[in-house]
Structure formats: C-alpha cells, structure tokens
C-alpha cells in the first residue's frame, strides 16, 4: 500500500450541547482509504468503552488482512463484536454495551461500505444526496419503504431503537442479519459522508446537502460546519461526521426554487358523523343490549323464585 495520501478527508466529532461524554468515535485513514464512524450504546461509560474497543479492533484487523474488501470488513466488524461481547461478560459495569457503526473502504475507484445499525453513509452526486445505507431500525425501515417521510421519521418517538448492533451477542462474519455490505463504483466527482444519528436526527438531507454545497476545497471545514449546524439545533446526542470528497468533487450551487415546507395539511370536506361518533354509538348500542339481557335474566330468576 502506498504511503501518500490518496484521499483528503475531513472529520469532526462533538459531545453535543447537552452531553458531557462523547460515545462516538471517528476514524479516517486517507492513505489506505479507511473511514469509520462509531456510535456507542450503553449506560455511563459503557457506550464509550464499546466504541473504543470497536475502533481498536477494526483498525488492527483491517491492517492484518489482505483478502477482498468485503471479507476484510466482515471479519473486522465481527472481531470487534465478539471482543465487545467478551469484555461485557467480564465486567458488570460494561454489561449490555454495544455500538453501531458504518465503515467505508475505498480501493481505487471501488467503494465498499459495511454497516450495522443507524449510523449512515450518504453519497453526494451532482448536488443530490442519496442514502447508501439502510437504517437497521423500525423507523428507518418504514422511512426506506416510503411509509414515513424524513420529517416524520425524525420526529418519531421510537427513532432511537435499533435492531442490529455490534457487541450484544456473539456473531459469525457471514451471518445474514448482521453486517450489511454494499459495493459500488466511486466516481471522482462524487463525495461521501459518514455520520452518526446525532446529525441526521436534527438535520434533513436537504439541510445537510446545503452545508456540503458550501464546500470550498477544505473537507475539514465541511465536517466542522455540519457538527456546528447540528449543535445549533440543540440536539441531545453526540454528533460525528467524516466527509470524503472525490478528487473531482465540486459543489453544485443551490437551486433557488426549492423551499422547505413542513407539516402540510390541506382543506378537506368535514368527516361524516358516523366516522367521528361511530364508535360511541356502537358502545351505546352494546350497553342497551347488555342492559336488556340483564333485565331479562333478573326477570327469569325472579319468575323461577316465585314458582318455587
């Protein structure tokens, strides 16, 4: 592997305006094309520990392996997973610790993304931002299916639940519901953004695109601006980003016609009465029938008593 930096990335991470500890970890190796964001899960110091272990193990494993990128990524993440699990078994205060992560390997013009959980990888191309990873969360799934808009997903009460993680149980590299891998060409005019959910919970894709389109050749300032924008929104989470522009990446000036709108409702004819009061009437009828039956039973019992 060459030692000259092939890529020129920018990273930024911050605990956020309301948290004292940062359970996120970011990593960028421009010379070898390795980019990683990790978001630790678990109480107190456990989330931070999990993220730290994942970073260390993945780094070590990726350095040793020479297999194809997909295998390297799977093995490295599995090794991190099993190490986190092993440590959590040993120490009561680390019990249940885990993390979610997104790992990108750039090999020439080939991009391999390995992903577990709800951190994200975006591809920026000709001014449009597209999500390359699917969130392993119920809300993320609904958003990908088009059943929730981005705004609805951001406001959803269950948006912080994930159903895949690194570290909560032992795993095999090729387990089907563990590491999600995507492999695609990386064109020189494209850019990549890896981020934890601290960013995407408070900024829409359009807003993220706007910040990136202010790129002036300094990837570090894009990364810093994104974290700053997220913090200004007053989120409750840690925020981390890795921004990797391709060699020919150039921002596209914002289209003036687009304007953000939220919570749209339109005038519609009023609902018919049976739609609004239907259930009340049904219950009333049920009550009447029950009352009649009770009266009938009482009368029957009384009648029987009189006969005796």
């Amino acid at each position: 592997m060459s030692t000259a930096a092939r890529w020129h990335s920018g990273v930024s991470t911050d605990a956020g305006p309301t948290r004292t500890n940062n359970e996120d970890r970011v990593y960028a190796d421009d010379a070898n094309g390795i980019f990683l964001v990790i978001d630790g899960l678990g109480g107190h110091a456990a989330g931070e520990k999990a993220a730290e272990v994942a970073l260390g193990v993945i780094n070590r494993e990726l350095g040793e392996e020479t297999a194809d990128p997909e295998r390297r990524a799977r093995r490295a993440i599995t090794a991190a997973n099993n190490e986190i699990f092993r440590l959590a078994e040993q120490q009561p205060e680390w019990r249940g610790m885990a993390c979610v992560l997104t790992l990108v390997l750039l090999n020439g013009d080939r991009l391999t993304a390995a992903h577990v959980g709800d951190s994200r990888l975006y591809l920026l191309w000709s001014g449009t931002l597209r999500k390359l990873t699917s969130d392993h969360s119920p809300v993320g799934e609904l958003e990908d299916l088009g059943q929730l808009t981005e705004t609805e997903a951001m406001q959803h009460p269950r948006r912080h639940e994930v159903f895949r993680d690194v570290g909560s149980r032992l795993r095999e590299p090729d387990e089907p519901d563990f590491v999600e891998i995507r492999s695609l060409p990386f064109h020189p005019a494209a850019a990549l953004l890896l981020c934890t959910d601290g960013l995407t919970d408070v900024l829409t894709a359009t807003e993220i695109g706007e910040v990136i389109n202010a790129y002036d050749g300094d990837p570090a300032s894009v990364a810093a601006s994104l974290v700053k924008a997220a913090n200004e929104r007053g989120g409750f989470d840690n925020v981390s980003v890795v921004f990797v522009p391709g060699p020919d990446f150039a921002p596209v000036p914002r289209d003036g016609a687009a304007h953000a709108r939220h919570a749209i409702t339109r005038m519609r004819p009023p609902k018919p009465w049976w739609r609004t009061h239907g259930s009340q009437i049904v219950w009333l009828l049920v009550g009447v029938v029950l009352g009649m039956m009770l009266w009938w039973v009482v009368e029957l019992v009384r009648g029987a008593g009189r006969l005796c």
């Binding site: 119920p138 009460p157 989470d237």
Partner: protein, 267 residues
C-alpha cells in the same frame, strides 16, 4: 350555507376552523406535554389573497384568539367518569410566546379559489425543533407492523405534490425511483456548472445533460429530447438529437449504452 355563490368564496370562519384543525393535526406528543404548532403559513389563491389583503391583520388577530381558546379547551380538565382510572392529562402548549399567522399567495398554483393550504411549524426556526437523543437498543427482532403513524399526514403529503410520472432505474448507486412532479426535467450525470433534476450516478458514457423530459401542462403529454453524445433510445428506436419526441405512457428509455429508465406516466 344559504347563498350559492358562497360555495367558492373563502370565509373567515373556514380559515379559522382549518387553522384549528391543522394545529391539532400537527400536535407533537411528548411524555408530559403536547407541543402544538404555533407558526402557520396560510397559502391562498391569488384572487382570494388580493381580496382579503386589507384584513389579514384582523383575521390573524381573530385566529390567534381562537387558537388560544382551543388550547385552553384542550387543557381544561377532562370529564371524569367515577370509578374509571384516567391517565394523567398532558399539558398542551406552544414553543414560542405567541402565535404567528401569515397569509401568502400560493406560489405553485395548486390552491384553487376558495381553498386554502396551511403549512405549520412547531417553532419559529426554519424547521421544527427536532431533538436528537441517544440511540437505544431493542431487545427483540424487528416488527415493522407494530409501528404506526398518523395516516393523515401521509395522505396530505401526497395531495400536496402531484406526481405526473415515475421513472425507475438502476445506476451505480443501486435501484432508484424518481417521481416527476415538475413539467421540465433534465436527466444526465450533471455537474457543478450543469445541474440536472435527475442526476444519474454513472460513468461519462452518459452526458452531463443527456436528455430532457418535458410535460405539456395543458394535455399532460410527455415529450423527450436527446441532447447526448452517445444517444438515447425509446423502446428500441434511437431518437434524433435535439428533436422532441412524444413519449408513450409507458416507455423503456435507454441512456447511452449504460442504463435503462423505465418511464410510467401517472393519471
């Protein structure tokens, strides 16, 4: 509703009742309180807008009173049924000190005379106050069906943006669906100095602006123009460059020798 011409005439009562309805639809429920939208943009047909221009302040004032009264009603102690345990009532409130009601001309021509469209926000900031919190781990496997959201919003969103056509394709970033809701769409690789609406993530066999899709707003008919170096084919036959071709309702558009767009017009 005595007089018939009033059918198309927008009344103040309608505006107020729609604002109230919108406020309740936009409620953002939290653990102990329910946040209601307090910034309302009311879009009107240009005719209605100019007719009412002089009295917007008065309508806004009346609307604010009605909104405040509605919040008071929502906060009033719920009727109690003896013996029935009720959950503790949540506090209804707004994120700002006062309401903001603005009247704007509908810029998209989608609001007919006598109709209104309301966009509301939870706070004065550009977007609602999203608050990120810590990710938590689920103890179980996914069950997507267990998550429900209010159907109204999804419905209204679909109404707000009419989709004229759908384009399905697969580029280097995977399968994609593009919904056409404009009358002019430029399609190609795009570039900083040549922005396109539909940016195909692919190699330079595809031109930066490869083809151009136009919809005749009056008839709904779509037309395609090839602007590329390497050519465009519709259902197997190559288009002449820079000449507009009428597009059938359903078409397979071959872009260079690289990818295929499946075009489907929507009625």
């Amino acid at each position: 509703m005595g007089d018939t011409p009033a059918q198309l005439r927008l009344s103040g009562q309608v505006i107020i009742s729609e604002l109230l309805r919108n406020m309740e639809l936009g409620a953002f429920e939290m653990a102990y309180s329910v946040l209601l939208p307090c910034v309302f943009d009311v879009y009107l047909h240009p005719g209605d807008h100019s007719r009412l221009a002089g009295v917007f302040d008065l309508i806004a004032e009346d609307a604010k009173r009605a909104l405040a009264a509605q919040v008071a009603r929502l906060n009033a102690s719920p009727r109690r049924i003896p013996g029935l345990k009720r959950r503790q009532a949540k506090d209804y409130r707004i994120a700002a000190k006062d309401w903001v009601v603005r009247f704007l001309v509908d810029p998209e021509g989608s609001v007919p005379p006598g109709d209104i469209e309301i966009h509301s926000e939870l706070s004065e900031s550009v977007s609602p106050g999203f608050q990120g919190t810590k990710t938590t781990l689920m103890e179980r496997e996914p069950s997507v069906t267990a998550v429900h959201t209010t159907g109204t919003r999804v419905d209204t969103r679909k109404l707000a943006e009419p989709t004229f056509a759908e384009i399905r394709y697969e580029d280097d970033s995977g399968p994609q669906v593009y919904l056409v809701n404009q009358n002019q769409i430029r399609i190609g690789r795009g570039a900083a100095d040549e922005p396109v609406e539909l940016a195909l993530y692919t190699n330079d066999e595809v031109s930066r602006e490869h083809l151009h899709l136009r919809r005749d707003a009056a008839t709904g008919q779509f037309y395609l123009t090839d602007r590329s170096t390497n050519g465009t084919w519709v259902d197997g036959s190559r288009l002449r460059r820079d000449v507009e071709h009428a597009l059938p309702e359903r078409a397979e558009i071959r872009v260079g020798d690289v990818l295929t767009l499946l075009f489907q017009a929507r009625r």
